[in-house]
């Protein structure tokens, strides 16, 4: 690889600092006692403890999946701590009571917690290690009946809603990491949009892993009642540790008749250094149930961080005429590995799904798209369009596409397009010959490549994503 391209891909991680804050960390290891401890710390009702224990029993019988195109040393799940929380007063009455060190951390990360300073029109829930530390704009949202709070709070304040929907989209025994999450999840965001309500602002959760040798197991549940709509965004960062952290989240979305959920992710977990030391293992199960007629679930993800990513945000299209969408940009550099894609399960009539996946591989990284389109016998008139494009930077990175297409209704239409391109010396020379330096050239090429995905992001975050990609792939040239 040329020096110019090499310089692009050597870019320090900006969020790698550790906050020096007193934390309450559980001893390492996992058994029933750990689960009872977590449940007790959170004053959970009995049914949730049972949910956890049932999941734990299922998990004990499961094997870690090995089919993904990623390679990493076996994770010792007894060597991590399943609970870490910043020590603070038991209950905060206002934002002013949040530990100032914590506020500074999030300010440094560009996440303002003071509502008066917050981005206009964005409500933020902040999860630090295992617990939610702050949620902004709660009162304003409550005026229109929207519940936006931490999962822990939802369990206590709205148990009937949590119990009704938790585990209905991702069952406790769905897969190894989802089962583990169901047993030990500590916090996350909960969002409920009542019938007919269009959420007046973007909802956002910011996840931060701070403590070394902890796992983050967050659980997010979003429910949009009939005719409701919401746009939700999550962002993630972690300090640079030489050890690996495990992040095994579960996100469940439920959209009832005519409801619309748009879920966007900008994932920038620490990716490890240029030799592949450290970084987050990001093993995430995200799934939406387009349950009602004419409902729509749309996933947009910009994945730039993590040492290993294993993630397939999916949609079960159960309601007739429901719509599922997946727009993804996955960037890998150095020794990062990503195996990511989606599943579109068509059950209802005239259901439609769109998949647009853009993979960018630099350094010695490996980037795979894995996607399933399944048309059930009941899904008359279903349609899918998939487009999977890969871009290689340099000559030591890898890109793969693994599409699985299963059609069991002959009125369905399924289209799949794929391409692979490369940012080559000749393209950069062409730009240079027109006066444009390599940084600006790579930025323009990458943004052109990703524009179909970026235009799906809410405006502020599209800007953030563009800059993030810039940071990820550009450096000081020469």
């Amino acid at each position: 690889m040329s020096e110019v391209l090499q310089n692009f891909v050597d870019q320090p991680y900006k969020h790698g600092f550790v906050t020096d804050i007193e934390s309450d960390v559980a001893p390492k290891g996992l058994d029933e006692g750990t689960i009872r401890m977590i449940s007790a710390k959170k004053n959970e009702p009995e049914w949730l403890l049972e949910f956890r224990l049932k999941s734990y029993q299922a998990w004990l019988k499961m094997e870690e999946p090995a089919w993904a195109n990623v390679h990493y040393p076996k994770i010792d799940l007894q060597a991590i701590s399943y609970y870490a929380a910043p020590k603070q007063k038991p209950k905060l009455n206002s934002m002013d009571e949040v530990d100032p060190e914590l506020l500074r951390t999030f300010e440094k990360l560009g996440v303002p917690l003071h509502e008066r300073m917050a981005l206009a029109g964005v409500a933020v829930d902040v999860v630090f290690d295992s617990v939610s530390v702050a949620t902004t704009y709660k009162a304003k949202l409550a005026e229109v009946g929207i519940i936006f709070c931490s999962m822990s709070e939802a369990v206590l304040e709205h148990p009937e809603l949590v119990q009704k929907y938790l585990g209905t989209v991702v069952p406790t025994g769905d897969n190894f990491y989802a089962a583990l999450n169901s047993a030990v999840f500590t916090d996350g965001s909960f969002c409920y949009i009542p019938k007919g309500v269009k959420c007046p602002m973007e909802l956002s959760t910011y996840f931060r892993i701070n403590t070394e040798e902890t796992g983050q197991f967050e659980r997010t549940l979003i429910i949009a009642e009939e005719g409701a709509s919401v746009s939700y965004l999550e962002g993630c960062t972690a300090p640079a540790f030489s050890s690996n952290q495990l992040h095994a989240a579960v996100v469940e979305l439920v959209a009832l008749d005519n409801a619309d959920i748009k879920y966007s992710t900008v994932q920038n977990w620490y990716a490890g250094d240029e030799n592949g030391v450290g970084g987050v293992y990001n093993f995430v199960t995200k799934r939406g149930m387009a349950k009602g007629v004419n409902s729509r679930i749309s996933w947009t993800q910009v994945e730039t961080g993590s040492a290993v990513t294993w993630k397939y945000p999916s949609v079960i299209l159960r309601g007739d005429n429901s719509v599922g969408e997946f727009y993804s940009v996955a960037v890998t550099n150095h020794l990062q590995q990503a195996d990511t894609g989606t599943k579109m399960i068509h059950l209802g009539k005239n259901t439609r799904s769109t998949i647009v996946s853009k993979g960018i591989s630099a350094g010695r990284s490996n980037n795979s798209y894995r996607g399933l389109v399944r048309i059930a016998p009941t899904a008359a008139g279903a349609r899918n369009y998939s487009q999977c494009d890969s871009m290689l930077i340099g000559d030591q990175s890898g890109a793969n596409t693994f599409p699985y297409i299963q059609v069991r209704n002959n009125t369905a239409q399924v289209e799949h397009e794929a391409s692979t391109s490369k940012i080559g010396e000749d393209q950069l020379f062409y730009f240079a010959q027109r006066g444009v330096d390599a940084e600006a050239a790579v930025s323009m090429i990458i943004n052109g490549f990703c524009k179909d995905v970026f235009k799906q992001l809410p405006m502020e975050f599209a800007v953030e994503a563009t800059q993030l990609l810039g940071l990820k792939l550009e450096g000081s040239v020469g």
Binding site: Q433, R434, G448
Partner: protein, 263 residues
Amino acid sequence: MIYQDSKTILEVRGLSATVNGIEILKGLDFTVKSGEVHAIMGPNGSGKSTFAKVLAGHTAYEVTAGSVLFEGKNLFELAPEERARAGVFLAFQYPIEIPGVANSQFLRLSYNTVQAQRGKEELDPLEFDDFVREKMKLLQMSPEFLDRSVNEGFSGGEKKRNEILQMALLDPRLAILDETDSGLDIDALRIVSQGVNQLANKDNAIVLVTHYQRLLNYIVPDFVHVMQAGRIIKTGDKDLALELESRGYDWVGAEHQATMATV
């Protein structure tokens, strides 16, 4: 056109260059003054395209000897993008496709970068749109080429027109046209040539690298050079091109050998 008060734009002395360790240019001398049009002709493998790429600063080529002064400055001290901003333009023989990047975006970035370097006004997308459409008329290009990705799916002729469009936008001091005539039908050749002729003036210079005399019917050169084995072995006026057309290149080589033997 040869002018009395012309300035030297390019001065190449004893230039040698290698690619992958193989010497392609072997002590080349070449001088270009403002207002002039030069044609460099020669058989395949004589080093014409290598010379063009070395001037533009392609990293695959290593300069092993000699000097190149561009408007009196050492060209080799400039990075490729700095050469372009200083006014060295290469119309590529095989223009590169850049999928996903709209031609209009690419052209504007290039134009504004060069304008900024010259301390001139940059244009916003709307102003640029008006400006570029005017330039496109010169080459009879449809405005739809602005919305398409750079060179992607363009025919050979469309790519070459897009190159000359860039020359029109960037207003270079030295334009090197590397086999711009290849792949063009007669109509396209005429349109592209007319475009180049309109861009030529007494302050800039044009170097045409070509195999065929055909192009020179449209763009009339002041000098015709024959290149062989990495050097210029004969220089004449436009009639030399006609002679090459009828007699081929071998006689030039033989004559050169004979001259060298007598020295």
